[in-house]
């Protein structure tokens, strides 16, 4: 099947321009909704029926999320989460760069469905050089074409979209931390409940969706009911971009239907480089548990299959490692990331991530003992599930899974003060 949703314009000339997007059927869905006065509940029902799941990591049903918004007349907000900072994930940056109008249209439809008159697209700080400029140019074009703004298509609808740029913090990818950041505060997660759908940005009901999720919406609205649902498999409907990185011949973004076997995804990415064998795969960005390569080869890329081997689909950032990768070094690097990105709000994560990194540094530098390995597992288990946001879990899960799957390699490193594979 060769269906493309978010990556539709990627291969075209001048992909980010309005004319290219309109040629691909862009803004048809938006025009249809406004001109034919399709009701908000109909839009939400259609998204609900499509089974579209959030593509940012948690995989929550988008239509269900939208239906949580109260029906009152108060101000509401939509936030597009383009703070894609998960190591191994590079899908949103390409959507922003090559298909920004699909995000704008998706945001317009989402704003309409939840009754918001303002939408914010929060880009990560590192996007300032390219994606930020492209997205702003696209926004300007859309304003000029009177697709956004006051009295859209001479109806009494007013929707404004603003682009915001972050300062490069990983934690702002967490939805409530993003709200804090937009409000001008330090990006630290809020205590839930209340959930953002009830009390979010500026204490008003807010919906936060991932860039890829919003970019998928125009095509779902344009096609007839059941089109999106029929793409993937049961309980994992639709299509997803997988960002293949690591020891591959042809790393990159591949948009494939959910439920595709991992082996064929690996084939798309050109297979393992230098004719080596696969050792391990992190299937959804660095914060999900690692899976051994031979197990991963028999898994399909959908939510349930990956969950059955003890990992998660996450954001779709697939990191493939060949048989000459030192897992101790990999874990050391991952824990370094979480150590520096912990916001410091709650104790288990602030203290624990530092300790994990320092113990792993000890091991790498040849000062590790066997006790350290148990200590790593214990600290990770004490972080998991005890923090305000999911970053604590994100820091703990790789540690526990690396230890579980590659214990002998860690033990070898401690005993011999050198890696088992190099």
């Amino acid at each position: 099947m060769n269906i493309k949703l978010c990556t539709e314009t990627f291969h075209l000339n001048n992909p980010a321009s309005l004319s290219t997007y309109v040629k691909q059927g862009g803004y048809e869905a938006w025009k249809n909704i406004v001109n034919n006065k399709i009701s908000k509940s109909e839009v939400i029902a259609k998204i609900k029926d499509s089974g579209l799941r959030g593509k940012g990591g948690a995989g929550f049903l988008t239509g269900l999320k939208w239906s949580f918004i109260p029906l009152s007349d108060s101000d509401k907000y939509l936030v597009c989460n383009s703070d894609e900072s998960e190591p191994g994930t590079c899908k949103d940056r390409d959507i922003l760069r090559y298909n920004p109008h699909s995000i704008i249209e998706g945001m317009l439809i989402a704003c309409y469905a939840i009754g918001a008159s303002t939408g914010y697209n929060y880009l990560r700080g590192e996007f300032i050089d390219e994606q930020w400029k492209v997205f702003n140019a696209a926004l300007e074009e859309a304003y000029k074409a009177e697709l956004i703004g006051n009295k859209i298509f001479s109806s009494n609808l007013t929707i404004d979209i603003y682009a915001l740029i972050g300062a490069g913090a990983y934690i702002v990818g967490e939805e409530t931390a993003m709200l804090e950041s937009i409000e001008g505060k330090r990006g630290m997660p809020r205590i839930k409940p209340p959930f953002p759908a009830i009390k979010g940005l500026f204490d008003k009901p807010t919906i936060i969706n991932n860039t890829e999720t919003l970019a998928s919406i125009p095509k779902i609205m344009l096609n007839q009911d059941g089109w999106y649902k029929n793409i993937g498999i049961n309980s994992s409907e639709g299509i997803k971009i997988f960002c293949m990185s690591g020891h591959l011949n042809k790393p990159g973004n591949f948009e494939i239907p959910l439920g595709t076997p991992f082996a064929s995804l690996l084939e798309l990415a050109g297979g393992i480089w230098k004719d080596r064998n696969i050792k391990a795969v992190i299937p959804g960005g660095s914060s999900v548990p690692v899976v051994k390569g031979d197990i991963m080869m028999g898994v399909n890329m959908d939510y349930d299959s990956i969950a059955s081997v003890g990992s998660m689909l996450g954001s779709g950032g697939v990191i493939v490692m060949d048989d000459r990768t030192c897992m101790v070094s990999v874990l050391h690097r991952i824990s370094r990331f979480y150590y520096s990105e912990s916001c410091g709000q709650c104790t288990p994560c602030r203290e624990g991530t530092g300790w994990l990194y320092k113990i792993l540094s000890n091991i790498i530098e040849g000062r590790g003992t066997n006790k350290d390995l148990d200590q790593l597992d214990r600290i990770a288990s004490q972080i998991e599930g005890h923090c305000i946001c999911a970053l604590g879990d994100a820091a703990a899960m790789p540690v526990r899974s690396f230890l579980k799957n590659f214990w002998e390699e860690f033990e070898y490193f401690v005993d011999n003060k050198r890696s088992m594979v190099i």
């Binding site: 205590i191 104790t347 288990p348 000890n362 200590q375 600290i379 004490q382 923090c387 305000i388």
Partner: protein, 100 residues
């Protein structure tokens, strides 16, 4: 409002948090960042309690009581929490860390 702490029934006031109820009832829940005269930040994660039907342990200082809520302050999950704080805050996992 009827609330159970460690299988014993207590009468809770509406909009009370778990820690307020337990303080009134004389059940000790360890805490660092909670103080009754200060706003709740729930950042030390020391007062985590186990609530029936909730997957993760929840902070007693920020979780409001519900009708028929079953709270366990000394459950398995919880012991792990208090152990954590023996480990996390009082002793560092290894004194060698301080040399790094």
């Amino acid at each position: 409002m009827k609330v159970f702490i460690n299988d014993k029934e207590y009468d809770a006031l509406p909009e009370e948090t778990i820690i307020q109820l337990s303080d009134r009832a004389g059940i000790h829940i360890p805490r660092f960042c909670y103080h009754k005269h200060l706003s709740v930040v729930a950042s030390c994660r020391m007062c985590l309690v186990d609530i029936e039907g909730v997957k993760n342990a929840q902070p007693a200082c920020s979780t409001p009581v519900r009708e028929d809520m079953k709270i366990y302050t000394k459950s398995k999950k919880n012991k792990r929490c208090s152990k954590k704080f023996n480990g996390v805050l009082i002793d560092k996992p290894s004194f060698r860390l301080s040399n790094l």
